[in-house]
């Protein structure tokens, strides 16, 4: 194998693929990246066994070959090399990496047991616009529980893809709040499929997807894996084998009050009252109460003091009163566009629904905190 590749291109490829490479693994193979060279194409693959990223790079005049290279070492070396063309040449068990007067021989290996991807091409589920999927993930994945290094598999560590009736619902929840993005008018032929993607994969996918409205992403589902193919990249993940709860059932139906309030205004005020909440790092409590055309937002920080904010609002329905974790509201206000948002209130112990007139396909639900 002999490949000549630009330093920036190689560094970029490695840093993307390394997201899937495990740093610590019982299987030492998984700390390596796989290089497969063809005359005009180089395929770089990283995987931790569950999550795989593969990138194709167009090259020219390569000598075909394949090898497994220690991922971290190659990535760190490449990032420190000058911005010129790098030559990678395989000699026995050594990979020679050279640029100008720098020359390194890295010990590499080959092993047929390095996990390979199945032939998925016939199992295409749907083609989606990249921008739409990216936005949907951005608006939902934050609601899931991130620190899933716990070993335990749970639906709160996932982003749920539900294909049904020509639409795709993307949902995430941590058990206390839930974000739902509904994408209608899918050109899929009546597929009905439930896929639970681990949240860290969903977040990586969101970062990798281009913002381009024209670009598309192909989604494949085969066995217990899901494949996202876009541009020269492929992201593959094992699916979580758990059941996602019936999320549609918790969306409130009988709204007794709608409060329209400025999005940024509310977000800034919540950020300030959060500073004087008791247990602000863990279980902060903010109180929202309406009075005429005013929303009163207060917090009681005990020894730290108290906060009070007044916001102008348009209120349709009865006055509302609710105790809520301000952070849950700030999280959603960050990912919503538009000037106004609507708080849909039912009762002190019912979920609060946040909607945006500019983004009717998005729904966010928060459970309140019980007031004694």
């Amino acid at each position: 194998m002999k490949v000549v590749i630009n330093q920036e291109l190689l560094a970029g490829t490695l840093s993307a693929v390394n997201k899937a490479v495990s740093t610590r693994s019982v299987n030492p193979l998984l700390t390596h990246v796989k290089f497969v060279a063809e005359p005009d194409n180089l395929t770089v693959t990283g995987t931790d066994g569950e999550f795989t990223i593969r990138r194709n790079v167009a090259i020219s005049g390569a000598e075909p070959g394949r090898t497994l290279i220690p991922a971290k070492l190659l990535s760190e070396l490449t990032s420190r090399l000058p911005k010129k063309d790098i030559t990678l040449e395989l000699r026995d068990n050594q990979l020679n990496v050279s640029v100008g007067r720098s020359s390194y021989d890295l010990t590499v290996m080959w092993d047929d047991t390095y996990p390979d991807l199945p032939d998925y091409n016939e199992h295409r589920l749907v083609v989606l616009p990249c921008g739409m999927l990216k936005r949907s993930l951005l608006q939902t994945s934050f609601s899931a529980v991130k620190d899933s290094a716990t070993g335990a598999v749970h639906y709160t560590n996932s982003v749920f893809f539900s294909f049904k009736d020509n639409r795709l619902d993307i949902v995430a929840t941590d058990g206390h709040r839930l974000a739902l993005k509904r994408n209608d008018g899918l050109s899929a032929n009546d597929i009905e499929r439930d896929l639970l993607l681990p949240v860290r994969v969903a977040e990586e996918l969101e970062r990798m997807l281009p913002d381009d409205e024209e670009a598309t992403v192909e989604v494949f589902h085969y066995s217990n894996q899901v494949f996202f193919k876009f541009g020269n990249q492929l992201l593959v993940s094992s699916l979580l084998d758990v059941k996602f709860p019936p999320y549609e059932r918790v969306i409130p139906k009988d709204i007794s009050s709608k409060v329209h309030v400025g999005r940024e205004e509310l977000m800034d005020a919540l950020g300030r009252v959060l500073l004087v909440c008791k247990q602000k790092d863990q279980n902060p409590v903010g109180y929202l109460e309406t009075q005429g055309e005013i929303v009163n937002l207060t917090s009681d920080g005990g020894d730290y003091g108290k906060g009070h904010e007044e916001l102008e609002a348009e209120i349709n329905g009865e006055d509302i009163k609710i105790a809520i974790n301000p952070r849950y509201l700030i999280d959603v206000l960050k990912v919503l566009g538009g000037e106004q948002i609507t708080l849909n209130w039912t009762s002190e112990v019912s979920p609060v629904m946040i909607t945006s007139p500019r983004d009717p396909a998005f729904t966010y639900i928060v459970m309140p905190i019980r007031m004694d």
Binding site: G151, A152, T173, G175, H176, V250, Q279, N283, I365, D372
Partner: protein
């Protein structure tokens, strides 16, 4: 300002010793020491006033007690008490006290709290006054059960508890609202229920030795630096506490939990603990899995109860084992989803315990510790299953019963069978809430 509350704290004098004496008249007026055998790391569980005169104290190693009693042939050492009977006698006292007072709570097997606020005129008419009423209670217990009881009376629970120490042995001590300040001032800070060794060391480092000095600190200063709720405690000392019947969430939430219910003032402010745990050393090293599991259940129940009192749910649980060769290991794991339910935690505790117990050796100590807390039950859930809701109701009902009737007021599931056998030596068990302020227990 202290309100017009009147709290009675009744404490059975040398409870265990007195129960033994009821059965063995030959023990009367002799020094009596109850505890494990000296060769088996036993400690003194209880001792009579006569034994105390010899320098013997509760929780002292039995070997030390023997040493101090050397040359005294009249000292009686009891190694196997009338276990079951203690609860029975305690119940009989409780029945009397409950029948005489509007609000009653058992703090432990030999300590009972009664709120008789608003009964002044009733008692004045019937008995001549509150102190006379307390004497009436004492006489009834003496006559009907045969036990001596001391009663402390005060306008708050803490004051009543501290007054009961002055009432001993076999007396009544009352602190009137206007006397509270003068009563408290000379006490060492460590005499206050709720101030443990760590807090008192920290207070002494600031030059605060007596309760009087503590109360002189400006309220705004007290809370700083003590995130374990000292400001709530001081407010309590200064102003008295709220109505404890309506403040279940406050019970036993302070300090090590052994001071259950000493701190439920209106101004409790505490930061979230890093962990809540219980552990116990066995009287004899144990290899029987059934006994070990039963002990783990009790420890899990206790830790979960304290977690619920603080409205928390744990994500992580750690099991601690010490083999009889003193090798100590901890094994932790996540709970899948944050939970405050006894059964969910216990299931994980069992898994972890059996994973950790790999050596075929007897076990000396087991412990259960909860950590990585999340918002508790007051943060409502989107998808609570009927089972979770039922479990929640069960736990809160059990908590209520235990608040009123003590730890053994109700037994649940694995705690029922062979309870006396697995019951750990109370004097050896330790409990601690770890906050950011206190150092981690080794």
């Amino acid at each position: 300002m202290y309100s017009s509350r009147i709290i009675l704290l009744a404490d059975l004098d040398c409870f265990f010793v007195e129960v033994e004496r009821l059965h063995r008249p030959d023990l009367r007026s002799r020094p009596v020491v109850i505890g494990g055998e000296p060769g088996k790391r036993g400690v003194v569980a209880a001792c009579s006033y006569e034994a105390r005169a010899l320098g013997i104290r509760s929780a002292m190693p039995m070997a030390e007690a023997y040493r101090r009693a050397k040359g005294r042939r009249d000292v009686a050492f009891l190694h196997h008490g009338l276990h079951g009977n203690y609860t029975l006698y305690s119940r009989r006292v409780q029945d009397i006290l409950r029948s005489e007072t509007p609000a009653f709570r058992a703090k432990s097997i030999d300590e009972f709290e009664m709120d008789v606020s608003g009964c002044e005129r009733l008692f004045a008419g019937r008995h001549g006054g509150i102190v006379e009423f307390a004497e009436h209670l004492r006489a009834r217990v003496r006559r009907e059960v045969g036990l001596k009881v001391s009663v402390g009376i005060g306008p708050s629970r803490i004051v009543a508890k501290m007054a009961s120490r002055h009432a001993k042995p076999d007396g009544v001590f009352r602190v009137l609202p206007h006397e509270v300040e003068r009563f408290l001032a000379p006490h060492d800070v460590q005499d206050v229920p709720g101030i443990g060794p760590a807090t008192s060391t920290a207070l002494r480092a600031r030059g605060v030795h007596t309760v009087g000095q503590l109360l002189e600190l400006p309220p705004a200063v007290v809370g700083r630096g003590f995130d374990i709720g000292i400001s709530g405690l001081v407010t309590n000392l200064r102003e008295g506490d709220g109505d404890w019947q309506r403040r279940r969430e406050g019970l036993g939430a302070f300090g090590t939990g052994d001071e259950a219910g000493t701190l439920d003032g209106p101004a409790r402010r505490r930061s979230m603990p890093k962990s809540i745990g219980h552990e116990t050393t066995f009287e004899r090293d144990i290899i029987d899995p059934a006994v070990l599991e039963q002990t783990l259940w009790r420890l899990t129940e206790d830790a979960c109860r304290r977690m619920r009192e603080q409205d928390l749910r744990a994500r992580h649980v750690t099991v601690r084992i010490r083999y009889n060769d003193f090798q100590t290991l901890t094994h932790g794991g996540f709970l899948g989803e944050a939970t405050d339910a006894d059964s969910a935690v216990f299931q994980r505790v069992l898994e972890l315990f059996h994973e950790a117990w790999t050596r075929r050796l007897r076990i000396r100590l087991v412990g259960v510790r909860l950590s990585q807390f999340a918002a508790g039950a007051s943060q409502l859930l989107l998808f609570a299953t009927p089972r979770e809701l039922r479990e929640q109701r069960l736990c809160s009902a059990v908590d209520d019963i235990r608040t009123r009737y003590g730890r053994d007021g109700v037994l649940v599931g694995p705690g029922v069978s062979r309870i006396t056998r697995a019951r750990p030596v109370e004097a050896n068990s330790t409990a601690g809430i770890q906050t950011g302020f206190m150092p981690m227990r080794g």
